[in-house]
């Protein structure tokens, strides 16, 4: 074996490592220069302070979330958060069904309200209405009745039939024929309606009924309770909604505010059908309810059939209340209903102290590992320190790069992953060094021991890193919450570990093995053959450490071999040499 080969290989590996590091620095520099990047990784909310809200879809039992719906919901929520003037909010999906909204600082209640009310919007016909039990009867105006009108008339709602509380319609036993059929009201539903408390809506916000069944609910302010028919038009059918002043039939703008809705094609057809039916009905059943998040936000009367898909809602609107309803109609058109699953607020000071603690813990961890390495491996500990430093630099650059490019944010769990990976990375060096020592004990010279030890150690390091990486990848893909941040850093460092041990630690050993200090087995080098057992004893045989490996193998005198046939022995010798050449 030519002596220069390992040396050349070593230098080539180190050059590759340099190329990787320079490449990472250049990539980071490019994002700093051109993409508003930073030289430091962005911090997640638990280190920087801020509010994280996790929204979970409200599903009727057995339903699955459609990925497309979720993306759509994220887009709508993002629009809403941005509308609130919040900068740098991050909205992501998580675990295939949850939506995570991360907002720096403490958001004002209006922003939170806007995110939380990201509910499902439905149009249902009113079947029955009554005053909520806690309301006082002599306040009919509290119901805020609106009317819907296809032609731009300025007619405001005048009478409040709902407030008068129509009592039970006759209850036919026949199955209902259309969504407005009072036959939907079964005895059971009537009982539920009678005992229904509007305050129960506040508790979980989970008032979900299948679209093809009636719903018992209340006006958003808790003043009126309703039995509503099945869903006739869904919120997705709204193409646009806006508020503005209503123009009279002559085209003159009145000073009354209203809400204008544009349905899409499907919605137009559905809404025409509904209004054509409702307009012929009288009393409470002439109204339809706009249901947001299981609550009625408006229950206008139907004045005429809307055929063009562009109804307008008029009533006692102020400019503000009209805008709110228009926003609710437009942005409320989420494909799914959501409820707040968790809301976490971390103050900036707590974030800072968590970051500091993480850094302190990391430094202590590194110091302990270095101390142990120096005690166990003497000067070789220096190689461990250098490798850890290089690994640290590469990891830092990768995380910063991903932070700039992919919007990755380092969380406390991620920091924990980094600290724990110090141990995992150092483990690879130990596996390698112990292997070299084993080879030295077998009587090899250091340069031979480095090569032979590397071949075997690398296999071990590779399989154990693969196992570790599988663990990290599975956690990253499947787990939710801060498990992911942890798995992410653990996965990255596992790859970095492989790169460093192959492109730095091993080449360094190849080069150091040629120095007199290490190659000569100085007592402080950690590779002193004498200290490692001056005699070789393998397969029950003592040997001098000076013995040349090839001779050692050839003269193998295992008892079993003596008993072999010549052919068997030759085969065994060939195998022995083969092993030696590895």
């Amino acid at each position: 074996m030519a002596r220069s080969t390992p040396e050349r290989n070593a230098i080539r590996s180190l050059v590759w490592l340099l190329v990787i590091i320079v490449g990472l620095i250049a990539a980071n520099g490019a994002s700093v220069l051109f993409n508003n990047g930073q030289w430091t990784p962005k911090l997640a909310l638990d280190l920087e302070g801020g509010t994280q809200i996790i929204l979970a879809p409200q599903l009727a039992s057995g339903d699955q979330v459609d990925q497309e719906q979720l993306e759509q919901a994220v887009a709508i929520i993002r629009q809403r958060v941005d509308a609130g003037g919040v900068s740098e909010a991050e909205i992501n999906t998580q675990g295939g069904e949850n939506i995570v909204v991360a907002i720096p600082g403490v958001p004002d209640p209006a922003t939170i309200e806007r995110i939380q009310s990201s509910a499902k919007l439905e149009f249902r016909p009113v079947l029955l209405a009554d005053l909520a039990s806690n309301q006082i009867l002599d306040d009919p105006e509290a119901t805020d009745e609106d009317s819907v009108d296809g032609d731009a008339t300025d007619e405001a709602a005048t009478d409040d039939e709902a407030a008068e509380g129509e009592t039970a319609e006759p209850t036919p036993s026949a199955s209902p024929t259309d969504a407005s059929d009072p036959a939907w009201i079964t005895e059971e539903l009537q009982r539920e309606f009678d005992t229904f408390e509007c305050s129960s809506l506040d508790v979980v916000g989970a008032n979900v009924a299948p679209v093809d069944e009636p719903l018992v609910t209340c006006e958003a302010d808790g003043s009126i309770k309703y039995i509503l028919g099945p869903v006739e038009v869904e919120g997705e059918a709204i193409a646009d909604a806006r508020s503005g002043l209503i123009a009279s039939s002559t085209g003159v703008t009145t000073n009354e505010f209203g809400v204008f809705i544009d349905f899409n094609e499907e919605g137009t057809a559905q809404f025409r059908e509904v209004t054509e039916r409702l307009v012929s009905l009288t009393g409470i059943r002439n109204q339809f309810a706009i249901v947001l998040d299981g609550r009625v936000i408006s229950a206008p009367r139907t004045i005429s059939a809307i055929t063009d898909g562009s109804p307008q809602i008029s009533g006692n609107f102020t400019q503000e209340s009209a805008q709110v309803l228009a926003d609710q109609l437009k942005f409320g058109a989420l494909p799914l209903g959501f409820e707040v699953q968790s809301s976490e607020n971390i103050t900036a000071t707590l974030g800072l102290s968590q970051l500091q603690s993480g850094i302190i813990a990391g430094l202590i961890g590194i110091a302990l590992v270095i101390g142990y390495a120096l005690i166990q491996y003497r000067a070789l500990g220096g190689v461990i320190i250098a490798s850890l430093v290089i690994a640290g630099i590469v990891t830092y650059l990768i995380i910063t790069y991903l932070s700039n490019q992919q919007g990755y944010r380092l969380s406390l769990a991620g920091v924990a992953g980094l600290i724990i990976s110090i141990g995992v990375i150092a483990d690879s060096f130990i596996v390698y060094f112990e292997r070299i020592r084993d080879e030295l004990r077998d009587g090899r010279r250091l340069d031979g021991a480095v090569e032979a030890g590397w071949k075997r150690a690398f296999r071990t390091i590779l399989i154990s890193d693969v196992i570790n990486f599988i663990a990290a990848a599975v956690l990253f893909v499947l787990a939710v919450g801060n498990v992911r941040g942890f798995a992410f850093t653990l996965g990255i460092t596992t790859i970095v570990d492989l790169v460093i041990v192959a492109l730095f630690t091993h080449p360094m050993m190849q080069l150091l093995g040629r120095t007199r200090f290490f190659g000569g087995g100085h007592p402080l080098s950690g590779l002193d053959p004498k200290a490692l057992g001056a005699v070789y004893r393998g397969r029950a045989q003592f040997r001098q450490p000076q013995s040349v490996p090839a001779v050692k193998r050839a003269s193998s005198s295992r008892e079993a071999q003596r008993r072999q046939t010549i052919a068997e022995r030759k085969a065994a010798e060939a195998r022995g040499e083969g092993e030696d050449a590895r």
């Binding site: 141990g423 599975v474 490692l532 008993r563």
Partner: protein, 336 residues
């Protein structure tokens, strides 16, 4: 050279040898006993104590309050008074976190109540509202984490088993490694159950990370086992069990070194986490990992390797290896 290196030399040559494989009944019994005790004590204590993420509720953290320094009792009475002012029957649980923070956990509050209580707590502890962090966790959040964690566990086990079976070219090593893994997981969660420590999502992260570490450690040992045993043919003087035992002894120093090095940073997080931050992400991850790493190292040596021998022992080829040796010994005396 350190003592460990000398021991390492002796272990490598076989001058000193611990009988890991031979006394396996003892190790099995210890493992089984610890597992039974862990389950029994956990059951006696009334099961695991789950964190607020699993129960659902509201949590407040007050930082920079002098009351925290005065002790739990003082901090608790302040918090209880503040909570009672805002809501009744919220059942507050108060703990000191780190050096100057108080954590107050209550039943789930409405957003309005949360704001009120934040103001009340800031007032009671004499800090600004910015120093009071509030969290609200729905009870389903923890259930979600648990479900995903269990899914991750199953998927990981499948993947890792296949990779190990392919790499070692025998499913028996994979099986032995996975049995050892379950041993580690049960004992680590058992420690939480027995001591009544709160199981938080961060602790669950710790448990999941044990998966990776426990196998990592076992794989390092098995790699040497494979190397030693694959060199043995039918003609080997050593029985299969002896070969495995030698391999375990030869990797013992490595196992100790890797475990110490893995445990040191974990211990640093545990120490700093408990000292500066108190109950929180860092401490919970580190505690689970600390226990798991130690148990994992033990199980790789004392359980996985003997178990592997147990699984392979009755294979015809492996049996032959042993019988040959018995037959060879008396003969060898005669030849010499």
């Amino acid at each position: 050279m350190s003592m460990l290196t000398r021991v390492g030399n002796d272990l490598y040559t076989g001058a000193r040898s611990f009988d890991f494989v031979g006394k396996r009944v003892v190790w099995y019994s210890i493992g089984a006993a610890v597992i039974i005790l862990a389950i029994a004590f956990t059951a006696l204590r009334g099961g695991f104590v789950f964190g607020i993420e699993f129960r659902g509720g509201s949590e407040f953290r007050v930082t920079g309050s002098s009351a925290a320094i005065e002790g739990t009792a003082a901090a608790t009475s302040i918090a209880v008074d503040a909570v009672d002012e805002v809501v009744t029957g919220a059942n507050p649980r108060v703990s000191i976190v780190g050096s100057d923070s108080v954590r107050v956990q209550t039943e789930q509050l409405t957003p309005g109540e949360t704001d009120e209580l934040r103001a009340a707590l800031a007032d009671a502890y004499g800090v600004t509202q910015a120093d009071v962090a509030s969290s609200f966790i729905g009870a389903t959040w923890g259930a979600d984490i648990t479900r995903q964690a269990l899914l991750a566990l199953v998927v990981f086990l499948l993947f890792a088993s296949v990779v190990m079976a392919l790499y070692f070219r025998t499913w028996k090593m994979a099986l032995a490694a996975i049995v050892a893994l379950f041993h580690d997981l049960i004992i680590t969660t058992g420690v939480y159950g027995v001591l009544g420590l709160e199981i938080t999502p961060a602790a669950v992260i710790g448990f999941l990370t044990i998966l990776g570490y426990s196998l990592y450690d076992t794989v390092v040992v098995f790699d040497k086992v494979r190397e030693n045993t694959s060199e043995d043919g039918v003609e080997s003087r050593r029985t299969f069990a002896q070969s495995v035992n030698l391999a375990v002894n030869q990797t013992l120093v490595r196992s100790i070194n890797t475990s110490v090095v893995a445990v040191l940073p974990t211990a640093a997080i545990l120490f700093i986490g408990s000292l500066l931050l108190g109950a929180g992400t860092l401490r919970d991850i580190a505690l689970a990992l600390f226990i798991g790493t130690l148990v994992g190292t033990y199980s790789s040596i004392f359980l996985a390797a003997p178990l592997y021998v147990h699984l392979r022992e009755n294979e015809p080829e492996v049996k032959k290896q042993g019988s040959r040796q018995k037959a060879a010994r008396p003969e060898s005396g005669a030849v010499r």
